[in-house]
């Protein structure tokens, strides 16, 4: 008997079922009552206020936010952050539109995994866009894709996320209502809520343990 067979056998015995349960393909009805449909709580409020809530939550977590009017204002807004630093940018078209990938300290256009890893490990700053952000928790939502690699927002000690205001959702519930099955789109969806931190030693808070200790949100009003 394989481990699989044994474990399923034990489960069925434990649940008082006969051993020969029909396989998944026959879509047998579920026992023990219906599973209630998920109820997602999406607040009914003015979407325009989401940005203020996002900024408040983001900054409470230790993030720094910068609001700019349009895409042309992005590069000047982050110029100071890049002084004497090296940065890796993701392949997000939005970053190109904002003129970020053209900046001198910014290395972009990586499509090969090992090259990207090396570059991110050496860089001071990782620059990305986002897929969504969540106002209620001040979170970035990033789906791994050809445009956004995982390590850009993870390896460098600082992370700048640049995105249009329109991508701000209310909360996790709204995200799950738009994306009921993230796995259909990506192998990795990560919610980033504040800078990396730990309180493992004496409960004293330290930022920037393994992930970035400094995070920035550049919010573009009119994209």
């Amino acid at each position: 008997m394989t481990a699989r067979e044994q474990i399923f056998g034990e489960i069925r015995k434990a649940l008082g079922r006969a051993a020969g349960r029909p396989p998944l393909s026959e879509a047998a009805p579920l026992h023990s009552g219906e599973l209630a449909a998920p109820t997602l709580h999406i607040p009914r409020s003015d979407r325009n206020l989401y940005v203020d809530l996002f900024v408040q939550k983001f900054e409470n977590l230790g993030g720094k936010s910068i609001r700019v009017r349009d895409t042309s204002a992005v590069a000047p807004a982050i110029a100071d952050l890049l002084v004497r630093k090296s940065a890796v940018a993701s392949n997000s078209p939005f970053l190109r539109k904002c003129g970020v990938t053209g900046l001198p300290q910014v290395h972009a256009g990586f499509t090969e995994r090992d090259e990207l890893k090396e570059a991110c490990a050496a860089a001071d700053i990782g620059i990305t866009s986002v897929d969504f952000t969540l106002a209620a928790t001040g979170s970035f939502v990033m789906l791994s894709s050809h445009n956004e690699a995982r390590l850009v927002s993870l390896l460098p000690p600082a992370h700048i996320a640049i995105f249009p205001r329109s991508l701000i959702l209310a909360n996790l519930d709204e995200l799950l209502s738009i994306l009921p099955r993230p796995a259909d789109h990506t192998s990795s969806m990560v919610l980033i809520t504040g800078p990396s931190r730990t309180a493992d030693i004496e409960q004293i808070l330290v930022r920037g343990v393994h992930g970035p200790g400094e995070i920035y949100a550049v919010i573009v009003d009119q994209a």
Binding site: A3, G33, A149, L154, A183, T198, I201, Q203
Partner: protein, 472 residues
């Protein structure tokens, strides 16, 4: 088998340790309270009810959901490995590493891996598993087991950490916490980049997505699962939930209950190896589904709710007994109230028979459990089982006699009364012997009242019958 009385007394006498445990858990208590209050989370109780209902349904249909999970993991290019025991799980990893000529892997925090002595098993086969969560890394260097489900190094001071680093890493003694963190970060960063394999746990397994969810604050789980070319996740079979959308319930409860964070810093939803258009991420994904006795718990309809646990640690934080005896005085890796109910179920009630009794049944745990496990009720059930075992073994002699005698007295009111009135004369004369000796050592033994209520009532000519209800 017997309670570790000496060690418990040592823990209680250690005032530094007591202060560390009390303030650390006190902080977690306060943080949680702030984010589940009526203002912060008006539907908190509703969420708990939903979480309980979803878990109940899933556990009672576990075969169905595991099949769905497996099918979706495979559809996304991953592989599922069923492990009856910890040994099977470790062997799989050892064999895979051998095949690929790998001698080191990075690992993120996983209580399940502690449960199966994963690191030790690998080490016997010259495969080094490096803990990357800061608290777990320190413990690995110090050769200690976790003190708390969520805050593993709760019991250590910065001076302890400094000594561990000096001894094991050969660095100069450094007591500044921020600098200690930097030391660990530097060492571990290299490991993330070099490792050919990363092992994680999973907080949730999502059946409709073939995905796992991992929550953390440091970033080490993200790195362990994104930098190496192989990702292995180890999870108990009970971790499965039906739909990604159910995360709206569970993610709103987990961080808040554990540390008072509405969301932890990183919440990763991972479904298999990287997709065709993705630049980075692992090439191979293996999900190890572990039984290791869970099907035993599943078989008990009253106690299977123990499997609902989402490992938030809130019960530990609120438990007045945990806050005194600390995590290392529990016999297994799972401590606190959840440890007290699952340990006897995994290991048998005739092991550690003291454990279900090491509780005043205050109920603080049940009050804060996000999935509403009825912990005090299960403790009572386990007590019943222990006394039954002892009765059959005939090893409960004195205590059983005492309770049988008490039951007899309490069903013969005249005797009860007689003893109560005599008690005020004789009680002070009873020497504190046996179990009463230690009870007496903690306190000044109370003097019984000079006059029992019966005597008082009689002296006032009070009515002695029950006030009768009118029979219509």
């Amino acid at each position: 088998m017997k309670a570790p009385e000496t060690e418990i007394q040592q823990a209680i006498n250690d005032s530094r340790l007591q202060l560390a445990i009390y303030t650390a858990t006190g902080r977690l208590i306060d943080h949680r309270a702030g984010v589940v209050s009526a203002e912060a989370l008006p539907d908190y109780q509703e969420l708990r009810d939903k979480a309980n209902a979803i878990k109940k349904h899933t556990i009672e249909n576990l075969d169905y959901y595991l099949e769905q999970l497996e099918s979706n993991v495979i559809a996304h290019g991953g592989k599922v490995v069923y492990c009856r025991t910890g040994e099977e799980a470790a062997d799989f990893v050892i064999n895979l590493a051998r095949e690929r000529d790998l001698h080191m892997l990075v690992k993120s925090k996983s209580m399940t891996s502690e449960e199966i002595h994963f690191n030790e098993r690998l080490e016997k086969h010259h495969l080094q598993a490096i803990e990357t969560d800061l608290g777990e890394y320190i413990l690995q260097l110090a050769h200690q087991r976790p003190y708390h489900i969520v805050a593993p190094a709760l019991h250590l001071t910065r001076y302890d950490v400094a000594d561990v680093f000096t001894k094991e890493l050969g660095v100069e003694n450094e007591v500044v916490i921020e600098k200690q963190t930097k030391i660990a970060r530097g060492v571990l960063r290299q490991r993330f980049l070099e490792a050919g394999m990363g092992v994680s746990g999973a907080n949730f397994l999502i059946a409709d997505s073939g995905a796992i969810v991992v929550v953390e604050n440091e970033g080490n789980a993200r790195l362990s699962t994104s930098a190496p070319k192989i990702h292995i996740a180890i999870a108990g079979i009970e971790k499965v939930i039906p739909r990604a959308q159910d995360l709206a319930v569970f993610l709103n409860l987990l961080g808040r209950s554990a540390t008072g964070q509405p969301l932890t810093v990183y919440t990763s939803f991972l479904s298999g190896p990287r997709r065709e258009n993705e630049i980075d991420g692992p090439d191979e994904f293996y999900l190890l589904l572990l039984d290791n006795g869970r099907t035993k718990l599943l078989a008990d309809p009253e106690k299977r709710q123990s499997l609902y646990c989402i490992r938030c640690g809130a019960c530990l934080n609120h438990c007045p007994v945990y806050r005194k005896i600390g995590g290392h005085n529990y016999p297994w890796v799972y401590s606190g109230p959840i440890g007290a109910i699952i340990t006897p179920q995994f290991h048998g009630v005739n092991q550690d028979t003291w454990l279900p009794f090491a509780s005043s049944l205050c109920g603080a745990c049940a009050e804060v459990c996000p999935v509403k496990i009825e912990i005090p009720k299960l403790l009572l059930k386990l007590r019943e089982e222990v006394t039954e075992v002892k009765r059959r073994q005939d090893s409960d002699g004195m205590e059983r006699f005492a309770f049988q005698l008490f039951a007899w007295i309490a069903t013969h009111p005249k005797i009860y009364l007689l003893l109560a009135s005599l008690g005020s004369i004789f009680f002070p004369l009873v020497p504190p012997i046996g179990p009463l000796k230690k009870w007496a050592s903690q306190r000044t033994v109370p003097e019984p009242a000079k006059q029992s209520f019966h005597q008082y009532w009689a002296s006032r000519g009070g009515r002695n019958g029950g006030a009768r209800r009118d029979r219509a």
